[in-house]
Symmetry: C2
Subunit: 179 residues, 2 copies
């Protein structure tokens, strides 16, 4: 099975062929825990997925979220992020199972751009929802009429979700710059 | 005047002393336009300052902005960002006038952290204000009663301001990683 020419490369230990010792050493990105293809990276992706699904579910269970654009946007952003994290978690599981590194330049560019976009979207959604929640709670004082608790919990989940996504983004961006 | 030991280093051209040719070459960060101490960096800082002051002024001229927490937060974040950008613009002007490079590792860490914090704050403020503005305009349809146009303009300014700040942050982070 010749898959080494594409976006995946064999990791240092356990080389599949024995004649590889004579090849010159290839330029390789430094691997830090949390990058794609590492157990830390998989943990980050699983965390992102769980938090995004939690934010989406909590917001979607309130009856009056569709009346506020920012809450609909939070549901959409959390949905997109959960799909993105799930895809990358599956890729990480595959890379860990077949013991391959995902530190290819183009793959890391793709992951960095994707993480940048999804983290910006979820942060924007979380901030917009937080603005509305604070307006309802502090400025209008009408928290008893609505599902304030659920809105606040979903917003908090989205913020923690952003924190894990921006960690992935910064790690990928770092590995891209320090190649 | 012996200032080369501190956080500033002479740039390549026009060395102040003639005996420097015998010293071994020092590890130096790659300079990209837009980084601190470059004309591009100064232009970015001036742009950030002008946009932040514009957002602050437009929001502060509305009479009812203190009744919404998100709008007060936008004024505070824009005020902080304008001070930060002004300080860094002055440092850039100094570095350009005395022809010195600001690519010292600790200085770049400081600038990166500062840009990261201020860009996150202004983006959060812009998103929260956008959430409220969309709520007033689309969801409640009560735009005629309030200063919608001014709120929207201030929010737009804050978004453009975030764009210039995050550019500075990414350039600094890149130069930090690729040192």
């Amino acid at each position: 099975m010749n898959v080494s020419q594409a976006s995946v490369h064999p990791v240092e230990e356990d080389p599949p062929t024995t004649d590889g010792a004579n090849n010159p050493p290839r330029a390789r990105m430094k691997v830090i825990q949390g990058m794609p293809g590492t157990p830390g990276g998989l943990a980050l992706r699983v965390g992102q997925f769980v938090l995004a699904v939690a934010a989406l579910s909590i917001m979607a269970t309130t009856s009056d979220f569709p009346s506020v654009t920012a809450f609909c946007y939070l549901v959409a952003a959390a949905g997109l992020l959960s799909l993105w994290s799930l895809s990358l978690a599956i890729i990480d599981v595959y890379a860990l199972l077949v013991r391959r590194s995902l530190q290819n330049y183009r793959v890391v560019i793709l992951f960095t751009v994707g993480d940048g976009i999804t983290s910006t979207l979820i942060f924007a959604a979380a901030c917009a929802s937080a603005g509305i929640t604070v307006l309802i709670d502090n400025d209008l004082g009408s928290c008893s009429d609505s599902h304030c608790m659920k809105f606040e919990t979903a917003t908090g989940m989205a913020f923690v979700c952003w924190f894990t996504t921006v960690t992935s983004f910064l790690l990928n961006f770092w590995s891209l710059a320090s190649r």
